[in-house]
Amino acid sequence: MDSAMLAALVDRVQAARAAGRALEIRGGGTKRFYGQAPQGDVLDVRELRGISSYEPSELVVTARCGTPLAELEQALAERNQALPFEPPRFDDERGDGRSASTVGGMVAAGLAGPARAQSGGVRDYVLGATLLNGRAEVLTFGGQVMKNVAGYDVSRVLAGSLGIFGVICEVSLKVLPVAPATLTLRFELAQAAALQSLNTWAGQPLPLNASSWHDGVLHLRLRGAVAAVDSARRLLGGSPVDADVAERHWASVRDQRHAYFTDRRIGAGDAALWRVSVPSTAPPLALSADPFIEWGGAQRWFVSAQPADEIRAAAQAARGHATRFRGGDRSAGVCTPLSPALQAVHQRLKQAFDPDRVYNPGRLYPEL
């Protein structure tokens, strides 16, 4: 059954290639707002689905691209394990509050949630992948083991590639057990003081796991051994947040259902949601909008209608970069432009994997 579905995909790609047509790889379609506007005929990959293997004691799960993320997370939760990078589960266009996100889209978008700074991002957990490239070849890189340096690490670079190399047919991911204790603390702190505290705490052996700051309120999630969370709580102070309230808060940050991210200005007129990635110690950025800060200070969101140049300049002054994440004009590219050396490598890599530009043309950068 799988081979038939894969064979059908291969046929579609060969036909598109022969006809000179582009394909938009689509799973749940929850992240079409991200990157440049999708182009080409839709290549729906949801039928290639299911968990191919899962061995909790190996800490590895292998799933096909169309597997709903919810199904994967459910299977892991049943064995008290999880994806530590907390990928977002955005609502799709149906707006019924349930996310149609798939495993393939999760890897292709490479987005991680609140625990990113402490637990790592998508690429840190990718162990191997099977790729259908632009020559319609089915290739497997990496594997299902933690340590593997045989050949180039092609599977990890697929994380965040926005599908420009091909269909990520199947992926093996490292998973981790859920820690025994979790506690969220709440502090009232101004932005600069919150950033200072977050960086100072992160230099100490504390079970920090996630942070969010907005409008004078810092939430800090501790996660680890019972004893570690207990002693950190005594050391840090702050007010403990009720577990259910805390869980709703972190889910609303992770899935961007928090009021900050559902701001009606996003996508109306010139206003956009910007993701600014900076060193965690960067001082408050010189931008007019109020930020929403995650990742211990390393990820800062802004809802702003300021011109892209100004936002990028502020990010670059802080030795970071800015991405037009949602809304606004995305025709000129949403990512920060690359240096000439990196741009040349990007173009040649696209050529190496997808010489006829069949897959998601222009989605990551206009010229790719």
Binding site: L6, D124, T140, G143, M146, A150, P205, G224, S231, H321
Partner: protein, 496 residues
């Protein structure tokens, strides 16, 4: 194996051409080309493979590195970058018609920032020197390959080096934020950033582990992590290998990620016990070392959870380190596995495959059978937490027949690892040593895709050519059959 090129007039002319070009951009002491001065560079830690380069450059500044690369690019001369030369797969073996680019003089710690918990260091800084510099701030650099006293961060980046703590703390890949360097033509480039990501494709993850084939690194920014207050180690003995393997699965199944989880078989235990007197149980078929680190309360909690799991899995003896001296003694044997092997045998071949942990007993039985087939002894240490196995094949290299049998034994282990769902190298890299085994692990299309990836970074193929990805011809001549690891079962698609 020695790759020698006869000292022809052609080679001499090429050497003159190169040294003349480099003399214009390097001070005289930074350029070696007489054979007595290039001899120390003829191999890395894989001493069985040697070659003499046309010249060795030891640049001291970024501008010199760039100028050397520009000159080699103009002349079409291959460049092999090299750190401390501790690598075990021949990744830094010179090219007989190329330049060896030693980064040894890039040994400066540029900055330690305790607030952002990062260290920016030149690529020739030793792994352990980073942790030593960070120590006053209560921080350290987590990846700890066993060569950490000598190996450099540039070499760690090239190999994606691991260590005994990577189950909990990750590999080089997980602990490096940014690599600055130069492309094959001398153009400057930066992969990653001081933030947690960079725009576009994650080329940093390709650069790490690329064995010097994509670009030359000059400066690396690494993440530092808080030093745990305390570490304690459990030493558990098992009467058979299967129950030791089951114990590893049971610990992880119980939701515990130990700071270290290492196993030694009886043959290895006997060799190291004789060398370091760590107090290992000589009757045990396998010894497991399980480390916990964190606050004292956290460590107590974790040790309290691990001991019963080990008992239930059939541990016949359990000892928990009472103090730091005892903990270090428990580890001393494991850490001395390589030198101890060198003590009982004139030579040893250290293999480095990774297998799914559940296949361990099967793998060790297969290795035991191979000892009979090849007529050589093998002892085993195992990074049990992440499935990385280091079988040490004992032999005498002065006996050509033994060397041949040892290499065949090693290749058999690698092929078996691939068949069991694993990989031919976990942390030592492919280099020149495992080129043949790459034919087993990857299909022709997969290898061609990797060649194309290499060409995207280095179109003329000047950086460390001939390593990592074997040519189609080499695989055809070697007669090795590709083992389909396909994550998906679709044999009918193989012909595409």
């Amino acid at each position: 194996m020695t790759l020698s090129v006869p000292p022809t007039a052609e080679r001499a002319a090429r050497q003159t051409e190169l040294t003349t070009a480099l003399a214009a951009v390097l001070p005289p002491h930074a350029l070696l080309w007489r054979s007595e001065s290039t001899v120390p560079y003829e191999c890395d830690g894989l001493t069985a493979y040697r070659a003499t380069p046309l010249a060795v450059a030891l640049p001291e500044t970024d501008d010199q590195v760039s100028a050397v690369l520009r000159a080699c690019h103009r002349l079409g001369v291959p460049v092999v970058a090299r750190g401390a030369g501790t690598g075990l797969s021949g990744g830094a073996m010179p090219h007989p018609m190329g330049l060896t680019l030693s980064m040894a003089r890039f040994n400066r710690i540029v900055a330690i920032d305790p607030l952002s918990r990062t260290a920016t260091v030149q690529c020739g800084v030793r792994n352990l020197a980073i942790s030593e510099a960070a120590q006053p701030h209560g921080l350290y650099y987590a990846p700890d390959p066993s060569s950490q006293i000598a190996c450099t961060i540039g070499g760690n980046v090239a190999e994606n080096a691991g260590g005994v703590h990577c189950l909990k703390y990750g590999l080089t890949l997980h602990n490096v934020l940014r690599v600055r360097g130069f492309m094959h033509d001398g153009e400057s480039v930066e992969f990653g950033s001081e933030a947690l990501d960079a725009p576009g494709l994650d080329l940093l993850s390709l650069m790490i582990g690329s064995e010097g084939m994509l670009a030359v690194a000059v400066e690396v920014t690494v993440r530092l992590v808080p030093k745990p207050q305390l570490a304690r180690c459990i030493m558990a003995s098992f009467a058979d290998l299967r129950s030791a393997g089951d114990a590893v699965a049971a610990i992880i199944g119980a939701g515990i990620i130990p700071a270290g989880l290492e196993m030694m078989d009886q043959a290895m235990t006997a060799v190291v016990e004789d060398f370091v007197h760590a107090g290992y149980d000589p009757d045990a078929a396998a010894i497991l070392l399980c480390e916990s680190d964190g606050t004292p309360e956290e460590v107590d909690e974790e040790i309290g959870r691990m001991c019963p799991v080990l008992e239930r899995s059939g541990a016949v003896r359990i000892e928990v380190s009472a103090d730091e001296a005892q903990r270090l003694r428990f580890w001393s044997g494991r850490k001395n596995a390589f030198p101890a092997s060198g003590r009982i045998s004139p030579d040893y071949l250290c293999m480095d495959s990774t297998i799914p942990r559940k296949r361990l007993a099967e793998m060790l039985q297969a290795i035991h059978r191979m000892e009979g087939v090849y007529g050589l002894r093998c002892c085993n240490v195992f990074h049990a937490g992440d499935g990385n196995l280091h079988p040490m094949i004992l032999f005498d290299a002065s006996n050509a027949d033994q060397l041949e049998r040892a290499e065949a034994f090693g290749a058999d282990i690698l092929e078996t690892s691939v068949r069991l769902g694993g990989t031919i190298t976990g942390e030592h890299g492919v280099g020149v040593e495992k080129l043949g085994s790459m034919c087993v692990q990857f299909s022709p299309e997969e290898r061609e895709q990797m060649q194309a990836l290499k060409a995207a970074f280095d179109p003329p193929g000047l950086l460390n050519p001939g390593k990592v990805i074997p040519t189609l011809r080499r695989c055809a001549e070697g007669g090795k059959m590709h083992v389909r690891r396909g994550l998906l079962p679709f044999p009918e698609l193989e012909r595409f």
